[in-house]
């Protein structure tokens, strides 16, 4: 995969684990296969397509771990139901799990980002508000 300089660290199972970053080509390929598997299921085919996809997904995630102990611990945790494949996948592929955006409830910009009124504008506004001052 990538050279050692591209190693990334993500938190999983409560500790930092090192991963080789998944490549854009691998992501595209696995996503294409996921879409194809979904189409096959939609068309009434058996779950064999998804089973095959899961095996490949696990294989890809497996190859991203730098340390064998981390891979083993995550595998054991998945078997014990302590962590899901989706969570491992999102960590290994993206580094964090983000909730899907809610179109009905868009994110509002926080107040801290509101810019202060420029000093010149504030000065003019103050003069205008007081006619006696403005007349000077």
């Amino acid at each position: 995969m990538a050279d050692e300089d591209n190693i990334v660290t993500h938190k999983l199972l409560g500790r930092d684990m090192q991963f080789r970053p998944v490549s854009p080509g691998q992501l595209v390929l696995i996503n294409r296969m996921a879409q194809r598997a979904q189409r096959q299921v939609d068309e009434g085919e058996t779950a064999a397509a998804f089973n095959s996809l899961m095996v490949k997904m696990l294989d890809l995630i497996d190859s991203l771990f730098v340390f064998e102990q981390d891979r083993q611990d995550v595998e054991d945790a998945m078997l014990a139901g302590k962590i899901s494949l989706e969570e491992v996948q999102s960590i290994a592929f993206g580094g964090k799990t983000e909730p899907a955006p809610d179109d009905a409830d868009p994110v509002v910009a926080p107040k801290t980002l509101r810019s202060k009124r420029p000093a010149a504008v504030a000065k003019v506004a103050k003069k205008t508000a007081n006619p006696r001052r403005a007349a000077r």
């Binding site: 490549s23 854009p24 064998e68």
Partner: protein
């Protein structure tokens, strides 16, 4: 000769590329599909390859990409202590960094075959057009050029001519230069004849 037709041979309807010991036909037919695939990642062209591979070939491509020669450890590090560590090293090397290089090289060949031009020229054109897509696509649609229906080479012709005719002399020179420039760090293979001509042109200047 399969096609005694220069246009058919330089602008095939379906594009095939060789990679990992076999040929792959891309499931890209309309200009819109090619533009979308290039625009997804213009640097690495993953939308073209492996992204453009036909559905029925995905499994085979996955298996071929994994079956790479396992390189011996050249770092001089000590032997792995446990079979588990050895398995880790071998497993990690099944997805070699070389696979990315093979994929991007194949994608560049595919773009060249799909457009009938140098791949960097085509990628530069798509980048430029995507930046002003509503304008370019709108103008082309008003002229009856629909990327959803046209072949990629023909669309490239139309888009280039739209940019060309809307520019003055200086703009046309800049456009030619912009489209002909390979990306930084890319070595362009030249034939001996082209190399000789380049050197003689340089000497003449």
């Amino acid at each position: 000769m399969q096609h005694a037709d220069v246009l058919a041979s330089t602008r095939p309807n379906r594009v095939t590329v060789g990679c990992l010991g076999r040929h792959w036909e891309l499931a890209l037919s309309t200009a819109a599909q090619w533009i979308g695939a290039i625009g997804y990642d213009p640097d690495r062209l993953v939308g073209i390859f492996p992204g453009g591979v036909a559905d029925e070939d995905l499994e085979a491509l996955w298996e071929c990409s994994r079956q790479l020669h396992v390189q011996p450890d050249r770092t001089g590090e000590s032997e792995p202590e446990t079979p588990g560590q050895l398995l880790r090293t071998q497993r990690a090397q099944l997805w070699d960094q070389n696979i990315e290089r093979k994929w991007v090289n194949s994608a560049r060949v595919a773009v060249a075959r799909g457009s009938g031009r140098d791949w960097w020229w085509t990628v530069n054109l798509v980048r430029k057009v995507l930046g002003i897509w509503p304008y370019i696509n709108g103008q082309l649609l008003l002229s009856g050029v629909d990327a959803e229906k046209l072949s990629f080479p023909s669309w490239c012709d139309a888009a280039f001519m739209l940019l060309w005719t809307s520019a003055d002399a200086e703009g046309r020179t800049k456009l030619e230069l912009e489209l002909s420039m390979p990306p930084a760090g890319i070595a362009v293979a030249m034939s001996p004849k082209a190399t000789k001509k380049m050197l003689s042109d340089f000497a003449a200047d």
